[in-house]
Structure formats: structure tokens, C-alpha cells
């Protein structure tokens, strides 16, 4: 097997007009249908990136990072594919004409140095695309061919990322921040079961209104985990990786100096995956409810291990939450969130 057949690697570039260009590694043995499905991944992964821009109130949010944990669940498979990491990274850059996004889809059999790859994308590959465009446009004038340039840049970029994969992960010093939880998402997924609910403040609580300014919207936050988990699952299937299933672990979003983290924990019992995830806003004012990520991780694990109704555990996450359940699956339910929770007045 060639080395790149063991990994999933794609680089998607969306220009100022949201035109998408991609460079994706896949096996030469894949059928045309499979290749078509793979080619669609760029649009599907970038979809919510555009969506946050479209639905955000007062700002273009970036989905910076999505990480899923992969578990071996199908014991009937003779030989399961070994994949250790699954994550996506997105770099957004402002140009004179608008925002451009460079999105990387990575899954490998190793525990990757995410920071190194993130730096490669945001500090080298993405600026290189923008700068090459400026310089070449200027030098070549009418002869400038953007398609040619972007294909060459994406190939350079993907080579650089691929070369960095599998390296030893370094420990980086990072300032520890405290976060405030603005919502908890409960999800249960099984063969014939699909439940997803959001718990948050009361619709009239001033805290709901206050924190709405620090997230893209309750609507966007409610759909992201389910959307990306399904998409990652489909990606794994389309690449013929057998016996492994994803669970969203982490989604990071940012807008200017605002930071949102979605953090999820899960259990898998009796063929049902049960998960709880918290929507966290980086601390901007002192509050006794602000906690470190490690505290939230611990509390999520506690809730999952208790096997009790979530309503009894909401206090652990945020005492201001009510037990009102906001469904997040059907369009009707989501529209309700949009109409009521995302109402800023």
C-alpha cells in the first residue's frame, strides 16, 4: 500500500467569491463514483464555514478546528483500518476583495502535531496562495491563470503537510483560559435512534441575550456537532476505512477576539453512542461559573458515567440553565431555536 493510501488528506481553498478549489489524495484504484464523492467533500466540509458567515449576527465566524475521536466498534471486521487522528483545520484570511478560506482535512494512523500543521497552513500555505496571486497577477497581467496557480500552490501545500505527518508531537506552552458554558447538547445515536437536544438559559434570561453576542448563534452551534460527525463518518466510509467510527471531540470557532469551543464526551453502550457536549465561550468577565476546560471534561465524564437524567446534572455545567429541551434535528426544531433563542431583542 502506498503511504498516502493509509491516510486521508485534502486541502480545500475557497476564494473571495466562495469558489472552491481542491487537492485531495486518494487511491488510484477508487472507482469514478467514489472519486466523485471524494470531490464533493470540499463543498460539504466548507458548507458550515460559509453558513457561519451567512447566519452570524454582526460577524464572520471561522470554524478553526474540528477534531473527532475514532473508535473501533465493528468487531465483525477481519482487519480494521488503523486511524488514530481525524481533524480539520481552517485558516481564514482577509484580502482586499474579501475573505478566503484554506481548509485541511486530515486523518492518519498517528497522533499528529496539530499545532505544527496548523502553523504550516495559516502562516505559510495560505499566505503563499494570496501572495503568489498578487505577485503573479502583477507580473503576468492578462496572461495570469489563477487555476494553474492555485493547483500548483495546493499541491505544494499538500506535499508540505504530508511531509509533516507522523512526526512526534511536541508539548507547547499555552496560556490556560477559563470558559463560560452557554449550552449543553445531548445526543444519542443508534441503529434506529437519533436524539439531539440543546439545554441552555431560559429564553428570557438576560444571560442568553448577553452570550448571544459571543457565539455565532444558538442555531449554528446546535447543528455543527451532528453535521460534522455525520460528514466525518461518511468520509471514512468513502475512503473504505473499515471498522472505525467517529465521535466529535472538539470544535473551535473564532471571530476577532471572541473564541468558542464545543467540547464533547461520549460513551458507547448497547450499540448506542451517547454524548454530551458543552458550548463554551472564552471568559470575558469574572464569574464564578467560569471554569477550565479540564473541569468541563471531568464534569462531562461524570454525567456520562452517572446514567441519570441530564436534567439532574445541569447544575454541574451551569446553574442558570433550565431543563427545557430544544430539539436540534428537524428543520422545524432548528427554526424554533433560530426564532426564539437567536432573537437578540
Amino acid at each position: 500500500m502506498r503511504s498516502h493510501e493509509k491516510i486521508i488528506l485534502g486541502l480545500f481553498f475557497a476564494d473571495e467569491d466562495n469558489l472552491v478549489f481542491d487537492h485531495i489524495r486518494y487511491s488510484e484504484n477508487f472507482s469514478d463514483m467514489k472519486i466523485n464523492d471524494i470531490k464533493m467533500l470540499s463543498y460539504r466540509f466548507l458548507g458550515p464555514v460559509f453558513l457561519t458567515a451567512a447566519t452570524s449576527m454582526g460577524g464572520t465566524w471561522e470554524i478553526e478546528f474540528i477534531e473527532a475521536s475514532l473508535t473501533l466498534q465493528d468487531t465483525a471486521i477481519d482487519e480494521a483500518d488503523v486511524l488514530q487522528s481525524f481533524f480539520t483545520l481552517n485558516s481564514s484570511e482577509q484580502t482586499q476583495e474579501g475573505t478566503t478560506n484554506l481548509f485541511a482535512l486530515i486523518s492518519t494512523p498517528y497522533t499528529e502535531d496539530v499545532k505544527l500543521i496548523s502553523d504550516e497552513i495559516s502562516k505559510y500555505i495560505h499566505p503563499s496562495i494570496i501572495q503568489s496571486k498578487i505577485v503573479n497577477e502583477n507580473l503576468l497581467g492578462e496572461r495570469f491563470d489563477f487555476n494553474r496557480l492555485i493547483n500548483s500552490e495546493l499541491e505544494r501545500g499538500i506535499n508540505l503537510i504530508e511531509y509533516s505527518l507522523g512526526g512526534s508531537r511536541k508539548a507547547y506552552w499555552e496560556e490556560e483560559h477559563k470558559y463560560y458554558c452557554v449550552g449543553l447538547i445531548e445526543r444519542e445515536i443508534g441503529q434506529d435512534k437519533r436524539v439531539s437536544n440543546l439545554y441552555t438559559f431560559d429564553k428570557d434570561d438576560p444571560l442568553k441575550k448577553l452570550y448571544l453576542n459571543y457565539i455565532p448563534s444558538y442555531y449554528v452551534m446546535a447543528i455543527l456537532p451532528d453535521y460534522y460527525e455525520n460528514l466525518i463518518n461518511e468520509t471514512i466510509k468513502v475512503y473504505d476505512k473499515k471498522g472505525i467510527y467517529p465521535n466529535i471531540r472538539n470544535i473551535k470557532l473564532k471571530y476577532q477576539d471572541k473564541r468558542v469551543i464545543y467540547l464533547e464526551g461520549f460513551t458507547f453502550e448497547k450499540n448506542i453512542s451517547k454524548s454530551y457536549g458543552v458550548i463554551l465561550v472564552e471568559q470575558f468577565e469574572e464569574s464564578k461559573e467560569n471554569k477550565y476546560l479540564s473541569d468541563y471534561k471531568k464534569n462531562l465524564r461524570l454525567i456520562l458515567d452517572r446514567h441519570k437524567d441530564i436534567k439532574e446534572s445541569l447544575n454541574l455545567i451551569n446553574p442558570h440553565f433550565t431543563s427545557e429541551r430544544w430539539g436540534t434535528i428537524s428543520e422545524k426544531e432548528l427554526n424554533r431555536i433560530g426564532l426564539i433563542l437567536d432573537k437578540s431583542e
Partner: protein, 345 residues
């Protein structure tokens, strides 16, 4: 990365260098500052060409940030040699798939020069034309033995490659293109040198291995008994008595010419060869007259008898060369001793 990080990673002994510079200043009281700094840099082995260094200093003198001096530029020139050393060490170990030169350029720029670019720009005026920077990189990071580091020639080459771009009055960031323009040729040349050195090393190893194989004895190689032949020849002429030690040495040399320590030999593979070669050497040492009474066939028959008796006591089929030598030396020594004793009978 701030100034401190680059200065910490690539440390130069600034105090020591400063003391040395002050000493030079004391020696060359008649010379101007630029001349002394040029001499200082020649002595620090940044380049062998005084004029090239001097002209570079003169060119950049008016392009330095306020508060920075030519001595600061000189220190950075020295630090650049340290960075080059580290980068070369890294390149020496790098294994780029398909020896992808473009990847080598991107990887080295990202790992060694991207943050350095941010650092070195603080030394130069903000409105400096970009080709000055790419020219400076070429000068700083070219190998010591580079023939042409004439600043004017280099600037001429760079001026059209990397024009400075502006949006309204603001200079656009094209740092990656500048880095590629200044360093691509150097990195490619350095990596090609690494590849060449690896190829040479591989070839050297192959030749060594081939030679070793050729030197290794095979069943087709010969026992060389030149000492036995000479000893018998001398005896036939002088008739002087031979010591046991002399005979033992000759037999030992005969066996050593074939058996090697660490190699295993089957008895049946060397038996006939040993009989034939020993008989040849003994027969060849005899005078013409003695050859008539001791025919080659006769000698071979005598040796065969000795070996057959030896084989009755030693049943080993496969032994190390040294073991065969140890076992056969006393047997053949006794045979040669007896043969010489009866030679004139």
C-alpha cells in the same frame, strides 16, 4: 516569535565579538567604521571577499531602521552563518519523497526562515523595497565558497523578480515570495549537494561491499602454499635440516590462504582442492631429479591417505575456517615433516 526567541535559538557571543571589534578598531585607527566592520566580518569568516562585504555594508548603511547600526547588521550576518549551519544539519537528515526540491524549499523556509524574516525586517527601514530583502537573504545564506556576492549584481537579479506591491499607500505583505526568491536557489543547491553526497556514500559502500564479497573465499578459490614450495626448494638445494617450527609455519600459511575466521566450510567442499594444491606446491618445490621419483600422483595419493585417516577421527562436516586450520595443521605438519625426511631415500 519575538526577537528574543531567534536570539536565544541562534546565539552568538555578542560581548566577545564586540571586544574583538573594539580591538580591531584600535588596530586600524586610520580606517573608517565601514572598513573596520568589513574587516571584522572577513575575520569572522562570513565571506572571503572583503570588497563584496564592504560594498554590501555601504549599500545597506542608509537602509537601516533608526537606532540600528552597521554593527547590528554585522552581528546578524554572523548569526546567519549559525542559522545556515543548523539548517544544513537539518537538510542533511531530510528525506523528501521523490527528492522533491520544491518541498525542500517550502519545508526549509517554513522551519528556518519564516520567523527569521519577521525578525530581520526589524533591522531595516519599513519602506525598504522588497528586492533588498531577497538580495540580503542571498548574501547572508549563500555558502562561504560562493564566488559572486557582489551586491549590485544580486540586486539586479532580484529587482524584477519581486517587485514591491502596494495597495493604496500600504505595502502588501509578500514575505513568502521574497524568501523563496532569496533562498530557493541556495536550498535547492544545498539539497542537491546532500543528494550527491548520499549517492557517493552509497556508491562507496557498494564498492566496499563488492570488494569484501570478492575477497571472501569461495569453494573455487585456492590453497596457496608458496612457503611450502620455497621451503622444499631450499631443502632440495642446501639439504639443510628444517625446524619443526618452520614446517608448521609453512603449513599454517598454506591453510590460512584458504580458511578464514568467521566463515563456515564443508569438508567435502575443500578436501580435493586441499589434496591437489598441497600436492602441487610440494611437487613444484622438488628438483627435477626428485620429481621423477616423487610424481604428482604419488604425492596426491600420500596426502589422500593422511586426510582419510584424519577424517576417521574428525567427523565434523561443517566448521569455521579457524577450526579446520587448527585441526589440520598438526596433521599436515607431520605429513610434510615425514615427506621431507624421506625425500632423498
Amino acid at each position: 516569535m519575538d526577537n528574543l526567541a531567534i536570539e536565544e535559538i541562534y546565539k552568538i557571543e555578542k560581548d566577545k565579538l564586540l571586544r574583538y571589534y573594539e580591538m580591531l578598531k584600535g588596530q586600524f585607527t586610520y580606517a573608517g567604521t565601514t572598513q573596520i566592520i568589513a574587516q571584522f566580518l572577513v575575520n569572522q569568516s562570513v565571506s572571503s571577499n572583503y570588497n563584496h562585504i564592504y560594498n554590501t555594508l555601504v549599500y545597506f548603511k542608509d537602509r537601516l531602521q533608526e537606532g540600528k547600526s552597521l554593527l547590528d547588521l554585522a552581528f546578524e550576518w554572523i548569526r546567519a552563518q549559525k542559522i545556515r549551519l543548523e539548517y544544513k544539519k537539518y537538510l542533511g537528515e531530510a528525506q523528501y519523497p521523490h527528492n522533491n526540491l520544491s518541498l525542500a524549499v517550502d519545508d526549509c523556509i517554513f522551519k528556518f526562515f519564516l520567523e527569521y524574516d519577521e525578525y530581520i525586517r526589524k533591522l531595516l527601514k519599513k519602506d525598504i523595497k522588497e528586492h533588498n530583502l531577497s538580495a540580503l537573504y542571498e548574501i547572508f545564506f549563500s555558502p562561504y565558497e560562493s564566488k559572486n556576492l557582489n551586491i549590485q549584481d544580486i540586486l539586479e537579479r532580484h529587482i524584477d523578480n519581486v517587485p514591491t506591491h502596494h495597495h493604496e499607500t500600504q505595502k502588501l505583505n509578500t514575505n513568502i515570495i521574497i524568501l523563496r526568491s532569496g533562498l530557493s536557489i541556495i536550498i535547492v543547491k544545498d539539497y542537491e549537494d546532500v543528494l550527491f553526497a548520499r549517492k557517493e556514500e552509497k556508491l562507496r559502500k557498494e564498492i566496499k561491499f563488492k570488494k569484501k564479497i570478492e575477497e571472501e573465499p569461495g569453494i573455487e578459490s585456492k590453497f596457496e602454499g608458496s612457503l611450502i614450495e620455497r621451503m622444499i626448494k631450499t631443502y632440495c638445494i642446501s639439504n639443510e635440516e628444517l625446524s619443526e617450527k618452520e614446517i608448521e609455519n609453512a603449513v599454517s600459511q598454506f591453510l590460512s590462504s584458504y580458511f578464514k575466521f568467521g566463515n563456515l566450510y564443508n569438508f567435502d567442499d575443500f578436501k580435493d582442492l586441499l589434496i591437489q594444491n598441497l600436492a602441487d606446491d610440494i611437487h613444484s618445490g622438488l628438483s627435477e631429479k626428485l620429481k621423477q621419483s616423487n610424481t604428482l600422483e604419488n604425492i596426491k595419493y600420500l596426502i589422500l591417505n593422511v586426510i582419510t585417516i584424519f577424517r576417521k577421527t574428525s567427523k565434523a562436516k561443517r566448521l569455521d575456517g579457524m577450526a579446520w586450520k587448527k585441526d589440520l595443521t598438526p596433521v599436515l605438519k607431520t605429513f610434510v615433516l615425514k615427506f621431507i625426511d624421506k625425500i632423498f631415500e
